[in-house]
Subunit: 379 residues, 2 copies
Amino acid sequence: MKKDLLFTPGPTPIPPEALLAMAQPIDYHRSSATVALIKDVLEKLKHVFQTENDVLFLTSSGTGAMEGAVANLLSRNDKAIVIRSGKFGERWGEICNAYGIEVIPIDVSWGNSVDPQTVEGLLTEHADVRTVFATLCETSTGALHDIEALANLTRIRPTLLVVDAVSALGADDLQMDTWGVDVVVSCSQKGLMTPPGLAFAALNQRAWDAVERSNLPKYYLDYRKAYESGLEGSVPYTPAVTLLTALQCALNRIRKEGIRNTIARHKRLALATRSAMKALGLPLFAASPANTLTSIRLPEEIDGKAFINLMRDTYGITYAGGQSQLSGKIVRIAHLGWVNENDVIVAISAFERGLVEIGYDIPLGAGIAAAQEVFNGNL
Amino acid sequence: MKKDLLFTPGPTPIPPEALLAMAQPIDYHRSSATVALIKDVLEKLKHVFQTENDVLFLTSSGTGAMEGAVANLLSRNDKAIVIRSGKFGERWGEICNAYGIEVIPIDVSWGNSVDPQTVEGLLTEHADVRTVFATLCETSTGALHDIEALANLTRIRPTLLVVDAVSALGADDLQMDTWGVDVVVSCSQKGLMTPPGLAFAALNQRAWDAVERSNLPKYYLDYRKAYESGLEGSVPYTPAVTLLTALQCALNRIRKEGIRNTIARHKRLALATRSAMKALGLPLFAASPANTLTSIRLPEEIDGKAFINLMRDTYGITYAGGQSQLSGKIVRIAHLGWVNENDVIVAISAFERGLVEIGYDIPLGAGIAAAQEVFNGNL
């Protein structure tokens, strides 16, 4: 009897009331009901973004909001610092390149997080840098970056800090207003427990001032149009109505739990997963691991791709494998969104059994016991 | 007992099996099941596009695919002819302007369709025009454009014909290969009976050659990346998985009906609606009306916005009103997607009753009888 469970860093499991909301007959996007829905969703997103700034949305993947940040904030020949510590940091650089932005890269070896002092050095060296593009959780490695430290550098300078919180929003802490982050982008299918297809951005006043100056081409990804429409519960283009209905359900859950508790839950799930891996003698890949997902470096004798396929086909458990240079070398277990302690026990139990099945010698149950200790408060 | 029915040109009603497909637990977008889903959907879209060219998809509104056509086909300082006969033709011009394309506009009064001779004259005058941007059905007016005649002009020239078939695909005929249309763009929430959030484009070889030359900035809307990934059942960015599952259900319906029959059904529904309006003495707004929707010019004494609201609030029937300069002046009744003869009878009946309720004198039932005559084959 197969029961499929997703432990991927997006899409993440969808709560049942959100699934059923999408199965209702669709409404017109200009109806008063949809206007109220959009207003409600945008208001509740502020709680998750930990901001008083208005949040805007696009019908796109998270990458659409990332490109939007470049196209809306910068102008031709602007310079930007791009922190590249994995596939998604590299994406910031690729987008900047597509728009002719001069990229000052900071290359961090995969699995590590940026040293804020390196950023400070470059900010001092290049005083004309318009923007620093950073990543909260680098999803390809599971590494968390110290966004608060970066914001301490940018908030006292005319340089904007733009943070890709695509995978980590609602799982790892990001206090946009308190820390002074200028732009945060995210999307629906991670901590927000909603299917993919919606992307979000929140901008502070400094960022909106930059939008005024920007001369890069944009139309569909125009932040100002999305923002101004959103204030009226409207949209410049037909939005993904069914996904908005699902998002409302998911946001109601986060509102009820409270964003601080939501982040604390993810912290607990991540800690338990890391404790389990330590008990199994498996090394973590990220030096500063995020709450969003746990990356485990597989022993060299294990074929990571075959292991991932075995877990999915035999156990109904989907983990994510490594991307690009990490293909086949790591397993990424996301504990993200609509996931609780029992789910993590299942993720660890299947992981243990799968390792034994492929002939790798670990003590069955040792990871589970370590996770239980965390959940019972005995760290 | 309220039963809400949508007669809007997107979103359109979703078939029940598509609604239920979206309520299933979500799958990972890299799973073998999703790979098969993407391949199946892209193959079945070719039937609807009436083409042997591969179809690509983006997670966006239709406007994303429109912008993609500009950003992927053109280069800085290129010239384009833009046919503007309503809000969506104007959108082509706005997108071109955003990218610094020199626009040679053809302004057609709203409700009318372009005269191909005008296009021919401009093509002769400006031999260096790269692209003609046209609209199959101008959704803001209900006017159908003669795309076959335009293709006859462009296929013998080095100029590409790019057609916005956003609202009309699957309702009005567009024989991409037979007519020689270079690029067709569309989206999910119209004739394809799927919620909004997916956009499509099909390009022939001439168009792909232009993509090779293009130097405009693009990343998320990059056609080549979407196309090449799609061939493998993959995606460059996380796609709207739930919408793909719904789309598969809808495409299965079109496949079963057959695209020629699907278009014939829409033709019959449109003809019945037009006959009904004539029987009620109400003038049509479009000179060459599309199968997609019927636009009715309201008598001056009727407040179009109040009428639309009355119909929605009292009868549960959502028509679309006029946009921009037509606000309050026309009613647009879409008979699009998962709509049959009985639905159109309801749309007409409610329309008649609503007119009587606001004090406008029409013979109750006259429109219905005219529609029935069409449905019974007595034109």
